[in-house]
Amino acid sequence: MNRLISIFLPLSTAVIFLVVWHFLVRLSGSDLFPTPMEVVRGIRELIEKGLLLKYIVASLFRVSWGFMLAVLVGVPLGLILGWFRAAFQALNPMIQILRPISPIAWIPVAILWFGIDDTAPVFLIFLASVFPITVSSMAAVQNMQLVYLRAAQNFGVKGPQLFRRVILPAALPQIITGIRIALGIAWLVVVAAEMIAVNSGLGYLIIDARNAGKRYDLVVAGMVMIGLIGLVLDLLIRQLEKFDEVKWGYGQR
């Protein structure tokens, strides 16, 4: 019964949304903004031209690289900043200054440095996701329960061993939460980056469809695909929270 409701509720929300959308477009008499059916036809057109898969792969490729680099840099950096007070004092102000600068503001700089190939969007995605990962890893270490540290020290664990056996596992649940948020931001940013620097990807699709003949059915088709893929990415990254080693960090849900 509960299972049925959990399927029925979101499904009926979607149906209501689509119906309202359809009639609003009809009522407004707009010939530019598409109805849901026109968007579906637009998606089919993209599939038939072989563009949809190509663009999705291009966008995912850029996100994967930028995001992976951000994890590789952000997690160790965050652990170090959280543990070593001197590192925190030296670097934290700089990080807090760089962090609020929107990745969009970096676009001109990225083009200047890397040209208009794939490096610029990868760099922008890296920038967008490295800060949430660093800051959450840092906070995870700083908020670690003292009792775990004391217990480990009592057993004579120190140095790199302390990091590997206690600090990292104690911080991992919160690190994963940071990684999850960062992936959402990375996906947000890839689209913005592709609107400017490159000639493939879902962001490019949206800008190109508008510029070349005001194809708003394709614009909205691109938006729908971005949303759906974002949902899938979040579902995938959530699987990390289900490992026995980190489940303790998420309360009873």
Partner: protein, 262 residues
Amino acid sequence: MDNAKSLIHVRDCWKSFPGKKPGEQVHVLERVNLNVDAGEFVCVVGPSGCGKSTLLNIIGGFFKESRGEVRVAGAPVNGPDPRRIFVFQENGVFPWLTVEENIGFGLMSRPAEERKERVTHYINMVGLSGFEKSYPRELSGGMRQRVEIARALAANAEVLYMDEPFGALDFLTRIKMRTDLIRIWQAEKKTLVFVTHDIEEAVQLADRVVVMSKRPATVAEEVVVNLPRPRDLDSPGYLAARDRIFAIMGMDVHGGGTGDPK
């Protein structure tokens, strides 16, 4: 009791912490003297917030005394030591490790076979067989405390410092844990320093009960509990020891009133 040959030797120990106002010092311990012999089971009781936990943290090496001398096994204490393991009130079992991984935590340098053997031995001793692969979040509070005690024993600690280890447990579990702790202590011949605010618990467990005064705390008196185990909680000897400690702490169990502390 005062002799330098004791395993744990605390002399004229003072401890103060910086207060809220700049330059202000809060005195927690004042001229504490305490000796514990090897193999002894000593309970430290006192009013809550009196500093008994601070004293245990100093002996355990997590805090440094402000003044005085704290020696364990002849050497000054300069930080925690794997031969002497602390059992924490808030439970220091690692939630990311299974029961057997937790108990084997202090044995990483040993060969795998010996490690496995010791882990199995102590899982059985604390009555957790069948839970080897369980994670702490799947266990009750009492079971988690057993894991922590087993972890200390498996690492072959000579001394266990226990800081209100049963404080968060329900009444029946607490009674059971006391019985089991006595059994384990008798089998393992460890030295136990056990801090509690529960006077009855102290008298049920200890060879000797150290009663501390209000803050700034010092040792008000020591009560030797020379009774056979398992202890009869209705025996005159038990009641006499218990009432004596109540009296030292300024409470009259029979009248229920509060008098002057000592």
